[in-house]
Amino acid sequence: MQKGKKIIAIGERDGVPGPVIAECLEGAGYEVVFQATECFV
């Protein structure tokens, strides 16, 4: 994934939640501009 992209993290409750994606991508040096966790019930 190209460096410098601003990240929109859309996680899933039964997969990888949004805050975890955000933390991992920030650790990788990306700027996360939005994170959410969707829920399919």
């Binding site: 994934m1 601003k6 929109i8 993290a9 039964d14 975890v20 959410a36």
Partner: protein, 104 residues
């Protein structure tokens, strides 16, 4: 993708330019990934949400795809993603998302 998130993505695309954004998903199953990918590349396929008819062409990835997870520092990857990587089958999602990225 729910309408609230579609609205936020539309606003962020206006603010930063869609060419500067990437969407990273965390879905647990392949079901739904194609709809998510289509929504942020070609527009909401249900034609009901804020992204109906709006082709943002934002590249879309899954957090467990090699293109993403390889950039995550080792310790963070082990703590936060290792368990998910054992239970989530990312390969079918990779095929769908790669195809969506190729169409951009």
């Amino acid at each position: 993708m729910n309408f609230e998130n579609q609205g936020v993505i539309k606003r962020l695309a206006d603010q930063y330019g869609p060419e500067n954004l990437a969407v990273v998903l965390g879905n647990g199953e392949a079901n739904g990934v194609e709809v998510f990918a289509e929504t942020v590349t070609q527009g909401d396929p249900s034609y009901a949400g804020p992204l109906a008819g709006v082709a943002l062409k934002i590249p879309v990835y899954h957090v467990l795809e090699e293109e993403v997870i390889a950039a995550v520092p080792d310790q963070l990857r082990e703590e936060k993603l290792q368990l998910s990587a054992l239970v989530i089958d990312v390969e079918p999602m990779h095929s769908v998302l790669q195809a969506a990225r190729d169409k951009i």
